[in-house]
């Protein structure tokens, strides 16, 4: 009897799954077009899954093994089941393979069940709680049904009642695993996830066999050419179709939630909920069925929307409140942790673009800063002719006078900030000690456009970027060095699309820590050993996660004789200082402040000093009451500089100072 029942069950589940898949695909295709190489993407998908996705999943070893067993077992079991029970090819090795696959899957599902017994807060409950049972139902029933097929049990073992019962359990399993995959159950992540990997909007972020570095963090430029086009994302259907597909791939694992600094600070943002809200919007409905942690301070069930309705209402409530979007520091911790490779920051900035460019609704100081950037090319509204006032006594060489140097020192808007001026002075001292041939742009430099872009003002970003690119094109130099990771990131990764480096221009951009490490390695810098207390290092988001530079700053600290006491969250898991993405400007209230939490991390290590490499981090961390000392790497280096006598004798313009000079203060 099972012989007739099974093929019917299997093929009807498959047929329903195909119908569901069509419906789901139609939902995704509501999005804007975004051309992808279909076949190439599909071909790359297995590698992206095995290498890149599992690289992230493997940070949690147990979960990674669980997933390999369950998912691998399921895929094998499903294919074999179609062959064995659907087409009746039970003979020989196929049946045994099916037994093995379902057994592996069953073991995996036991681990899933264990995980679900006391799930951490970041995991969603709801339908996800029944998933282990469904997995077991599927794997167990497939296993049992296959036993007679391979001849372990006689064909007519048990009664027909048993057979029907088994078929019912299998129907449940099939329902969850095959039907649910395309009709919106928890298994949807497998279907959407696989396609998302194939058609990802940032194919560059995956590694390649050739050893590509697999990083893609620059925001994508918004097309400003057609005046009638809507700017940014107003409704879910304004996302590109593969962004929608990406949202649909979310497994609600909450890894993003667990690392989000805004969520931890009690600001109304939870990246997981945000992605789920986009899924709600994609299909239409309310968030009442969401079974995870809400946005802090915002109860679930009050927001609703549809694919062609606004995401943020001008007044009242829609899918998401504006302050949720403005809480994000664009730290990318969520993207770094997401096993499904979902791009939260892209989505948030897309929605911010609409709020800023179409509604003119950048909150708090945001609007003022944008006005300043438009009128004065710097966020503080200072006279652009006073960019070098801080260095009146330093006699800095200007690009306009020299035309050609090795290193262009990009100063950033920190020139207007008294704290950052100390860092800049230190950096200049280091460059001079190493006899670097450098110059600055002076008043020709403008804000890089970082903050304008993160606040959604793509127009101002592009205007600043284009003018900066034109200025840079006038001069000849090999490298740009800057102590501001935000400028670094923008110059290095985001100007390319507009004709910057990597495009038409031929220079590289370095963070000062990378450059100092290089100078030290080349023997151009000498330090007195460190005599201070314990030191920890805070990785700036825009240097670390955005650009993968974790080593150089640590190398420099080692060269100074400092042993870094690492914080629990360091390297790619570093916690944001709260200063990115214009968050200090939009200033959305929470229960705690992000820099306070970071300073607690510092305190936990017992360090008396925290080394940083970013003006924004310096400002945020120094703003903490009773903080550890905050010093930029450049300052630590400048303090430890030793000028060797030989060099002094050689140094042009410094003859007569042939004495060992220890410049430490």
């Amino acid at each position: 009897m099972l012989d007739t029942l099974l093929p019917i069950l299997i093929f009807s589940a498959l047929a329903l799954a195909v119908i569901g898949a069509m419906r789901r695909i139609r939902l995704w295709r509501q999005g804007r077009p975004s051309p992808v190489p279909i076949l190439q993407g599909l071909a790359a998908m297995p590698r992206r899954y095995v290498v890149d996705l599992h690289h992230v999943v493997a940070r949690d070893k147990v979960m990674s093994n669980t997933h390999v067993a369950t998912a691998g077992g399921f895929v094998a079991a499903a294919v074999l089941m179609i062959l064995v029970h659907g087409l009746g090819l039970a003979q020989g090795v196929l049946g045994w393979a099916l037994l093995a696959a379902s057994a592996v899957m069953f073991v995996g599902s036991l681990f899933v069940a264990r995980r679900r017994r006391n799930p951490p807060a970041r995991l969603s409950k709801g339908p996800w709680m029944r998933l282990p049972k469904s997995l077991m139902a599927f794997s167990l029933s497939v296993f049992l049904i296959t036993l007679p097929a391979v001849g372990v049990l006689p064909q007519d073992a048990g009664s027909w009642i048993l057979a029907v019962a088994l078929a019912a359990v299998l129907a449940w399993g099939l329902g969850e695993m095959v039907f649910g995959m395309t009709w919106g159950g928890p298994m949807k992540h497998a279907f959407a996830g696989a396609l998302h990997l194939a058609f990802h909007r940032r194919p560059e972020r995956f590694s390649t066999k050739a050893g590509g570095k697999g990083r893609s963090t620059g925001l994508k430029a918004l097309d400003l050419d057609s005046p009638q086009a809507k700017l940014g994302v107003e409704m879910p259907s304004d996302f590109t179709w593969n962004q929608l597909l990406g949202f649909d791939a979310c497994v609600q694992c909450g890894r993003c939630e667990a690392v989000c600094p805004a969520f931890a600070a009690g600001q109304p943002l939870n990246p997981k909920k945000l992605i789920q809200d986009m899924v709600v919007g994609l299909a239409g409905g309310s968030d009442a069925h969401y079974a995870g942690s809400p946005y802090p301070g915002k109860p679930v069930g009050e927001h609703a929307g549809g694919p062609h309705g606004p995401i943020v209402a001008r007044e009242g409530k829609a899918l998401v409140d504006a302050e949720t979007l403005w809480s994000c520091t664009t730290c990318r911790a969520c993207v770094e942790e997401c096993p499904m490779m979902i791009e939260h920051v892209d989505a948030i900035v897309d929605m911010r673009r609409f709020l800023t460019l179409e509604h003119g609704n950048t909150p708090n100081k945001g609007a003022e800063v944008l006005d300043n950037l438009i009128a004065t090319d710097n966020p503080g509204g200072f006279d652009p002719g006073s960019r070098l006032h801080w260095a009146a006594d330093l006699n800095l060489p200007r690009m306009a006078d020299l035309g050609q140097v090795d290193v262009l020192l990009w100063l950033g808007d920190g020139v207007f900030d008294m704290r950052n001026q100390r860092t800049l002075r230190a950096l200049v001292k280091v460059l001079r000690a190493a006899e670097v041939d450098f110059a600055v742009l002076g008043d020709e430099e403008r804000d890089s456009g970082d903050v304008a872009r993160r606040l959604g003002d793509e127009a101002t970003f592009q205007s600043l970027a284009r003018r900066n690119i034109a200025t840079l094109a006038k001069y000849r130099f090999q490298r740009i060095v800057t102590c501001d990771p935000h400028s670094f990131h923008v110059l290095c990764n985001e100007y390319r699309e507009l004709g910057g480096p990597g495009g038409d221009a031929h220079y590289t951009v370095l963070h000062h820590s990378t450059f100092i490490a290089e100078l030290y390695a080349a023997g151009q810098l000498h330090f007195t050993p460190w005599k201070g207390g314990a030191v920890t290092y805070h990785d700036p988001c825009y240097l670390g996660r955005y650009n993968g530079e974790y080593e150089a700053p640590r190398e420099v600290l080692r060269a100074l004789g400092i042993t870094v006491t690492e914080m629990a969250r360091s390297g790619f898991r570093s916690r944001c200082c709260g200063g990115g993405g214009g968050a200090p400007l939009t200033d959305i209230p929470g229960e705690r402040r992000i820099p306070d939490m970071r300073m607690d991390d510092v305190r936990e290590t017992g360090a008396e000093l925290v080394a940083v490499g970013c003006p924004q981090c310096t400002a945020m961390l120094e703003g903490v009451v009773e903080a550890a000392e905050v010093r930029d790497i450049a300052e630590l280096v400048a303090d430890a500089l030793v000028i060797l006598p030989v060099k002094m004798a050689k140094g042009q313009g410094r003859a007569g100072q042939a004495r060992v000079e220890e410049l430490a203060s």
Binding site: P227, L231, T356, E358, N361, A375, P384, D457, T460
Partner: protein
């Protein structure tokens, strides 16, 4: 755009907007006070706001005027005028043709003559009352508007004025909303034809030169402690040495003013 007074209870407001100039960089922008005027108008319930500008249209002024469109307008009425024309007759003509209930303008322009006289000349021509330094329009009822006028040091005076009227705003009025790039770019500059432009006969005779820095009165604070310094900084401007001249001839008055200016070092010689 034009309200029908019989049918709609709405309030027709025309805001006069000019091309501004950033004080540090001199870049064109929406003029701050005019933008505050637009904000004041937008905040009124049932207001039908029309933006009106008279002047030269070129790339620079286009960008600046679009700053007002970005505050949420589909169009701005533009009366094109050649360089150095007197815009008062043109503005008066348009306003007299379709009189709004309220006209709002900034106190003074950010470039050009910037004498602040334009609203007064318009008021004189149209025969309408003018209220300066309006901080808020509290309400309009039965052809009378209730206004809050800003006085020095945060004081406010409540006034009532018969409509139609001209109001001017300065920086005491609420800050303007952000100008959004999308609407600014899409909005229309609707050109409105008027009669012959009238050249500004006086202006052409003037010679313009860059402003000299005006001498600043030095306030020397002899304070021993931070507290004293703070008190000095926070203290009200003291009159004290003021002098009221009563019943003097114009010549005597002028003499007295000239003497003061010399004493203060404003006029040398």
């Amino acid at each position: 755009m034009r309200p029908d007074p019989q049918k709609s209870p709405s309030l027709a407001i025309t805001v006069l907007v000019s091309v501004g100039c950033h004080p540090l960089t001199g870049r064109g922008r929406r003029a701050d006070q005019d933008a505050r005027g637009v904000e004041l108008a937008r905040a009124l319930p049932l207001a039908e706001v029309r933006l009106l500008h008279a002047g030269v249209l070129d790339a620079g002024s286009d960008a600046a005027l679009r700053g007002y469109l970005g505050m949420g307008f589909d169009a701005l009425t533009l009366i094109e005028q050649p360089e150095s024309s007197d815009v008062v007759p043109a503005l008066a003509e348009v306003l007299a043709d379709h009189p709004p209930t309220l006209v709002i303008a900034g106190t003074r322009a950010e470039r050009g003559e910037a004498s602040g006289l334009l609203p007064y000349l318009l008021a004189e021509r149209l025969g309408w009352p003018l209220v300066a330094a309006v901080a808020e329009v509290e309400g309009v009822e039965g052809g009378v508007a209730t206004l809050l006028q800003a006085l020095p040091r945060g004081q406010r005076r409540r006034l009532q004025v018969r409509l139609p009227a001209i109001l001017t705003v300065d920086s005491a009025a609420p800050a303007p909303r952000q100008s959004a790039f999308g609407p600014a770019r899409r909005g229309q500059l609707a050109v409105h034809e008027v009669g012959e432009a009238v050249p500004d006969a006086e202006l052409v005779e003037w010679v313009e030169q860059p402003a000299r820095k005006r001498p600043k009165r030095l306030k020397i604070v002899k304070a021993a402690s931070a507290r004293d310094r703070f008190k000095a900084a926070a203290a009200k401007a003291e009159g004290g040495s003021g002098q009221v001249l009563d019943g003097v001839t114009p010549e005597q008055g002028a003499e007295a003013i000239l003497k003061l200016l010399k004493e203060e070092g404003v006029l040398r010689r």
